[in-house]
């Protein structure tokens, strides 16, 4: 497999054929291998390889995100298929993970991260005007409801919730292409710069507020109690998700509407995660089940 990675890097013009490559390898619990590949001269590449599915669409979404949010994304370089492996290459950026405490910090570093997060959401809103490819909210939600209502893997309370939703609820939600998995794990900082990873679901839905909801939930603990608190608090000031009010204003989404839509966002997220591992789906089902009772 490493031979193919080398071949893909050489083919993309990222390394010379003679380069002595250095590898760090990570396995995910699902089906992808992630490698950081160094060429020995200080340049590093992030390589994702998968034999079970194609990463071509993910690469296209990643490229689109890079075009729209160059300050927040690494540079995608190439996608190639070799001997059954789908290989996605991006330029690696040395980074460290961002934690709740980093974002909630009252210091200038925390303020800078929060400002950049709002900046990203503002850029997403700005790009929506010219985004002719963005997903129609009604179509997306109709598909999501139909899928969740008929899937045997979905728990009965969720199925009932999906079926009971009033389609007019999402009729007035602004359409802004969403990252789709904007959680803390997908954020990092390179120096003072905020980086966002994992663009494989970018633009799959344009349900404005989904990214804000997921990020707020991820700050609040990614559980039913956090979701209930986000729904309950009219004013998020002083909470870990205090950014949400300003973020909603950026997306032209009234904060009260956002709060009321939390179960809809979670259903939409559950739909986006329908092909993920059982562990992730069960966690989401539990969260939604607890939120509904």
């Amino acid at each position: 497999m490493l031979r193919f990675v080398r071949e893909a890097l050489v083919k993309a013009g990222a390394v010379s054929p003679q380069a002595r490559l250095i590898h760090n390898v990570r396995l995910t619990t699902e089906s992808t291998l992630r490698l950081d590949v160094g060429d020995g001269t200080g340049s590093w590449f992030h390589v994702k390889a998968c034999r079970e599915r194609s990463l071509a669409e993910e690469f296209d979404r990643f490229r689109l995100a890079r075009e729209r949010f160059p300050a927040y994304t690494a540079e995608p370089i190439a996608h190639t298929c070799l001997a059954g492996w789908s290989i996605l290459i991006a330029r690696a950026v040395e980074h460290v993970p961002v934690g709740v405490s980093d974002l909630a910090s009252p210091g200038s570093s925390g303020a800078s991260l929060r400002r950049q997060l709002i900046g990203f959401l503002a850029a997403a809103q700005a790009s929506a005007k010219a985004d002719i490819l963005r997903q129609d909210n009604e179509t997306f939600m109709r598909e999501a409801v139909a899928c969740l209502a008929t899937s045997p893997a979905v728990s009965p309370p969720l199925r009932d919730l999906a079926l009971s939703l009033d389609p007019t609820v999402w009729g007035d939600i602004p359409a802004i292409s969403q990252h789709g998995n904007l959680v803390l794990n997908n954020l990092a900082r390179a120096g003072d710069r905020l980086l966002i990873f994992d663009w494989k679901d970018y633009g799959v839905t344009a349900l404005a507020g989904l990214d804000i909801c997921l990020f707020a939930l991820s700050m609040a603990g990614m559980d039913a109690a956090g979701a209930a608190a986000i729904q309950r608090k009219e004013n998020p000031a002083g909470q870990l998700w205090a950014f949400a009010r300003e973020a909603c204003a950026t997306s032209e989404l009234p904060y009260d509407t956002f709060r009321a839509l939390v179960p809809v966002y979670l259903l939409a997220f559950r739909y986006l995660k329908r092909n993920c591992s059982e562990e992730i789906r069960a966690r989401l089902d539990t969260m939604l089940g607890e939120l509904l009772t």
Binding site: R3, H23, V25, L27, T28, S31, D36, V96, S151
Partner: protein
């Protein structure tokens, strides 16, 4: 409408993760695989390993099951070979040889010689049965790791294993090229990744891990670890090394 088709995590179990790590450097179209072991059962290959010939050979002092080729097939063929004698296979037979803790276990048995000498002798015998372009891949305790000291055999005072530098040197001296040595993370019970022992690569991995756990550390603990990471010392502390090398064409 999209149908719910939950992904089966191909790397979901510890065994699958270990096998995946052993398969990462393997060349395509491998035809014959050999696992050398000292224990009763092989720990990496089984009859689902993607190869035409899979041989699990136990190294022992008394041979009761000499090598008798059973023909090509996906079933694992087993045999025994003497600790110190040439391997009972024709030259250039295998594409891949797996040494899962074989070198340190062999060094413990052959305790009158240095672990480096034992490893070098074994790897030369492995090189003989590998085809040009073939690969040796394995793991073992890290000689310099405090945790490896705890796991050393009671009968010996020293850790009978290779270290970060000696592992690569031994592979080169035994005739292997493109040798790479890694820390296996977080460990054998949950093998989730490999971090190169190259100083810069090691710093990248462990800095990221440190920052991810920063919230749970006090200031002193964080700063101490930061120094350890900055000096690339984690590669000497982690207890399992993973390595590979190719037989030159």
């Amino acid at each position: 409408m999209s149908i719910e088709t939950p992904a089966v995590g191909v790397y979901a179990t510890c065994e699958a993760q270990l096998r995946a790590l052993y398969q990462i450097p393997t060349p395509p179209g491998q035809a014959a695989v050999l696992e050398l072991r000292l224990g009763d059962a092989g720990r990496v290959v089984d009859d689902t390993w993607p190869a035409d010939l899979v041989v699990s050979c136990r190294l022992t002092d008394t041979i009761t099951q000499p090598w008798k080729p059973a023909g090509l097939g996906r079933r694992v063929q087993t045999c025994e070979a003497a600790y110190d004698a040439p391997l009972p296979f024709a030259a250039d037979t295998f594409d891949l040889v797996i040494l899962h803790h074989t070198l340190d276990e062999l060094a413990s048995v052959l305790s009158q010689r240095s672990s480096q000498q034992v490893a070098e002798d074994c790897l030369r015998r492995v090189a003989h049965v590998l085809r040009p372009g073939g690969l040796v891949v394995g793991c073992g305790l890290n000689r310099s790791s405090p945790r490896a000291w705890c796991e050393r055999p009671r009968a010996t005072r020293r850790v009978r294993a290779l270290g970060v530098y000696s592992c690569r040197n031994v592979l080169h001296r035994s005739g292997f090229a493109e040798a790479e040595v890694f820390n296996l993370l977080p460990g054998l019970d949950n093998p989730r990744g490999l971090s190169s022992v190259d100083a810069q690569a090691s710093r990248i991995t462990f800095r990221r891990a440190l920052e991810a756990s920063r919230a749970s550390l006090g200031t002193a603990g964080y700063l101490a670890r930061r120094i350890v990471v900055g000096l690339s010392l984690n590669r000497f502390i982690e207890n399992v090394l993973f390595y590979w090398g190719y037989k030159p064409c």
